[in-house]
Symmetry: C2
Subunit: 394 residues, 2 copies
Amino acid sequence: MGSRVRPDSLVWARFPAWLERHYPQGRATVLSESDIRAAIAAKKAKQESFGHWQYARLLHEWQGLPRGTLFADGVVVPGYPKIGRVQTLTGVLSQFHAPCWVEEKVDGYNVRLFRAGDALYAATRGGLVCPFTTDRLPDLIDPAVFSAHPELILCGEVTGPETPYIEGTSPLVPQGIGFFLFDLMRQGVEGFFPVEERRALARSFGLPAVPFHGRIDPKDLGRLREIVRRLDAQEREGVVLKEDSPRNFRAKYVTGSAELSDIASMTQRYLDVPPEYFTERVLRLALFLEDMEEPDREEWWHRQLGKAFLSALRERIAAARQGRCVGSFCCRFHAQENAVRLLDHLGQIRGHEGETRLVSLQDEGGAWVLRFEKLYRSTTGFLRNALGGSLRFD
Amino acid sequence: MGSRVRPDSLVWARFPAWLERHYPQGRATVLSESDIRAAIAAKKAKQESFGHWQYARLLHEWQGLPRGTLFADGVVVPGYPKIGRVQTLTGVLSQFHAPCWVEEKVDGYNVRLFRAGDALYAATRGGLVCPFTTDRLPDLIDPAVFSAHPELILCGEVTGPETPYIEGTSPLVPQGIGFFLFDLMRQGVEGFFPVEERRALARSFGLPAVPFHGRIDPKDLGRLREIVRRLDAQEREGVVLKEDSPRNFRAKYVTGSAELSDIASMTQRYLDVPPEYFTERVLRLALFLEDMEEPDREEWWHRQLGKAFLSALRERIAAARQGRCVGSFCCRFHAQENAVRLLDHLGQIRGHEGETRLVSLQDEGGAWVLRFEKLYRSTTGFLRNALGGSLRFD
């Protein structure tokens, strides 16, 4: 790690000497403070703060670094890159050229846990420090891992009914919240630890990890189909395949039940979501059904898809009749100030700009329990107009 | 009607003297040739031709005239205005203030049939003369009506399995094509004939008209619900309500089965249609089910909605595996040249710009039978990529 210069100033990305060891072919990028300032001026990056801690995050890809990369005094936390989707099992055949690890894809929100100075932080995909996840970080993992390896970045999924972001629920976390490690990075270094190295480190520090479904030959589609079919029956989201080869290629494949569950939960905010959110999932469901080769289940799927849309819409119509369409959330915090920061933070996240309304914040048995609602403004407005009998020219 | 000046030149809108009689309150608009030229220069109108006949059409509303208004030497055919939709039966209660006629809404394409000089033409909604409908006009109605009333504009719906535009089918026309009159206008005059006057004229000339479902008190929602429920059970599109009052207010209300049938037929070209086409129909279906108050049919509707998407997508996936996703059309013509004009015309219509491919054009027992395909390029491309195993970053 680079040494700190002035703790309260914006001195970015002290270049770690070992970066050059990892990228000997000239892929290393030396970033100075003025580079970051230029990125901010060019609207590629944005300056942020969490309490007194100041940092910048990339709003877009920049100089080969992914969106969501976070810079602070002595710290570079690379953004978590997008993982491509194979939409059919054929994609596994054509994209993978060596045996691959099958890891579960958990339905939640992506975080990177890291250390800066003496503090631990959790950043969301876009590179914002999340007040909720940061507050609850010691409940998610044993912080001892950062004492031993301060440069580590733990990449994983947070899910459960008590998060501020997730509208559906994962069967893996029936209550509260949970963390599932799926990758390790090092500060200032692009690229992930090899799967086995990551698993060994997770075991030795007792880090909770995504369920592991073995190592398969990508030509053995029958075995993969069985894994996916079982996950689908349990309404789990899908798999990430990681090729066991130097290129460490990876791709995701999602179950039909995850498409349905996305449709049902986002229908709660039907008109506050881009329409292609729904049409893309319907299409992926159709492709999934082709892959599963279960013609006798066809009618069952028809009913489930219709229900995903229509049950949720019926519930929303009833809500609009009563008043407003909202999403209700409940999260627990150690520190009251983090709950207040979260409410502020929600106003800044794309797709969450809608009105967030505090319902209550109170100490319940030693934890600060925050209850809040998100107003789904377009859904409410459209349904109230329709129910009120307004004319529509479309 | 105004007199012709130079038959082959663009002399527009000879102002008909009787327009002032119809709009004595100063609503009359006098249009000169230079006005129309200015509208063309301002991209509000576009110059078109059909054979040697030249005309202009409005691409946008202009000087109070609706989009689709057509101008030619001595002829002004007003565009057919949009009819607002009530999305719930409550809308009927709140929008209508006097008894109203209930007429069937037929699922097809909107045309205006009119006379110019000695010829009869059919214009589509956008104001383009349709080579197919114009060719077949004498099969749709008895042209005698234009000998008696040359200034009339017959507004109606054309539907059936042998049209160049409709992908679904209407149960009202199981084979060939059919025309259903729903309004009468006069050239150069905005506004419609009163319903009873139109019906009397249609009877005396034997003009086929949209099915008529009586005159109701808008407060009698029970009666309207019964009419709609019966139409829905027969997979018919819905109703247009026309208030029997001087303001001649009108609104449409569509059945759930029509939403399903739109979803199923447009899923044939799933990715060549804006996604909101589907999400809006799903939402309208949910509102329709609320109105019908039939909780015991809930599961049936779930299955139908899922099937509308998934059966059509399964068929498209199979088509993409074989090669391309296309729509196949067959139309009959009296004149070979009109078939050729249609193919040319299809390239100009918004939403039909995709590749149109002639399959065959041949004389079959005295009729020119045109078979053609529309290539659904985005649907084909997406599905072929997905089936080929390509990665997608979404």
